[in-house]
Amino acid sequence: MEEHIVEMKGVALAFGDKSILKDLNIAVKPRERLVVLGQSGSGKSTLLRLIVGILSPNSGSVRFKGREVTKMRRPHLNRMRQKIGMVYQYSALISSLSVRDNLALPLEELTVKGEEEIEKIIDEKLAMVDMQDTKLMMPSELSGGMRKRIGLARALVMHPELILFDEPSAGLDPVISSVIDELIISLTEKTDATSIIVTHEMESAFKIATRMAMLYQGNIIEDSAPAAFRNSKNPVVSQFVSGSTKGPILEGKNHGGQKK
């Protein structure tokens, strides 16, 4: 049986009195492109932060390649993070560093590669996202779409086995959004990386996903292939897919079997 690259079991997390995740269970196989859908504030980004060890759950287990993330000490956690690339909603490029330096940062800090090899990797990754001309520019000189692409290139420099995308097409126009979606598909295929994409944009989700999951009131209420997801009988999922204002989401009913 193929080992899961990410496995979350019984994960619960609350910020103060506000419960974000309740008994969340999900597993991701290598080379999958899992899209996690959910309303704003449903805990999608939190889920990514749990995988990378930025947040710790109140209870439950988070495993990356079979190793428990929640119990890792800092040096081990840092070594694990080198195998994960993360693309942020607003890119999170280091504003005081040029595009070149943003991409070079993990290579200079975490590897023993020489200057020449680092330059070669940077050029290669910038070419992959079609951003060669921006190498010497500062993040403030880039548009939202360009920043997203540089963020993607930065996530790729360490040849990650897992790439996490936090709202990759948020705030972009439809054309640039499609460009980003296609980049996600082509780059994850080229690099054989597994990816987890959190979004609430249906069009992007169906285009990218090989598998889709719906996060609602702290639980995964649907986990299926895109075609099955689109035809889901779960009223929350079907309302979310259709974008209708009528349905359990706005009525506040929980179709996981509990009252809100």
Partner: protein, 241 residues
């Protein structure tokens, strides 16, 4: 703290300095060289004012020759480190907190951590070390400029020539005054660096949070500097009565 100690140990184990050298020099220029005009100007006018006021008070008793020593000892032992500490906390501490705070709220710090790079080597250590090492240099500038201001007043108002001023300073100042000032300046630099970086990295709540944290960083740093100055004086007076 434990995480940072781990990170430092890990870097040392891999044979790398616990801070990024290029950023250290960048911050040294910003914290040190950039602060020179402000520290020099304020200290010059303080020295000038101090000698003017004390000179007028001492002149009726014919003891105005005490003014050079008074200013020199006052600045090298007390006012130089204290005034510089307060100015650096306001100028550099605020800048560090605002910069790191903005990086925190815009997820830049999280992105650095998510890459597997701890914030200590890249963000904290170069800044703390820069302020720590540059503070004594700034204090020396402060002392020299204050003495210069005092010397001008002594020459024009108290009829003490420049060379005589130098002699009076030289005979009145002792090594304990310089040691006390140096110890304090290192300590104040460390306080400003640690407080400003900690407050920057613990910002919550967007732009308003950055503002609140910056204010709180300056207030805490200045208060701590003043409290530590008092404690240092108590200890140093006990060691060198």
């Amino acid at each position: 703290m434990i995480d940072m100690a781990h990170e430092m140990g890990d870097n040392m184990f891999r044979g790398r300095p616990p801070f990024r050298v290029a950023i250290f020099f960048e911050q040294t220029d910003r914290a040190g060289v950039g602060s020179v005009p402000l520290v020099a100007l304020v200290s010059f006018f303080l020295g000038l004012t101090m000698s003017l006021l004390t000179g007028y008070q001492l002149r009726p008793y014919g003891t105005e020759r005490l003014v050079p020593g008074l200013v020199a000892i006052g600045f090298s032992r007390e006012l130089g480190p204290l005034i510089t500490g307060i100015m650096v906390a306001a100028r550099i501490g605020a800048a560090f907190t605002a910069e790191l705070g903005t990086m925190t709220v815009s997820e830049e710090v999280e992105a650095i951590e998510a890459m597997g790079i701890g914030p200590l080597r890249f963000l904290v250590a170069p800044r703390v070390l820069a302020v720590f090492l540059l503070m004594p240099c700034l204090v020396v500038i402060s002392n020299v400029m204050a003495d210069l201001g005092a010397a001008l007043i002594c020459k024009w108002q108290l009829a003490i020539p420049l060379l005589y001023f130098g002699d009076l300073v030289h005979t009145s100042i002792e090594s304990r005054d310089i040691i006390a000032g140096t110890v304090k300046s290192f300590l104040f630099g460390l306080i400003v660096g640690v407080v400003s970086c900690y407050k920057g990295l613990s910002v919550e709540g967007g732009a308003a949070g950055v503002g609140d944290s910056t204010t709180s960083s300056v207030v805490i740093a200045i208060t701590t500097v003043i409290i530590c100055d008092t404690l240092c004086n108590i200890v140093l007076v006990a060691i060198y009565p």
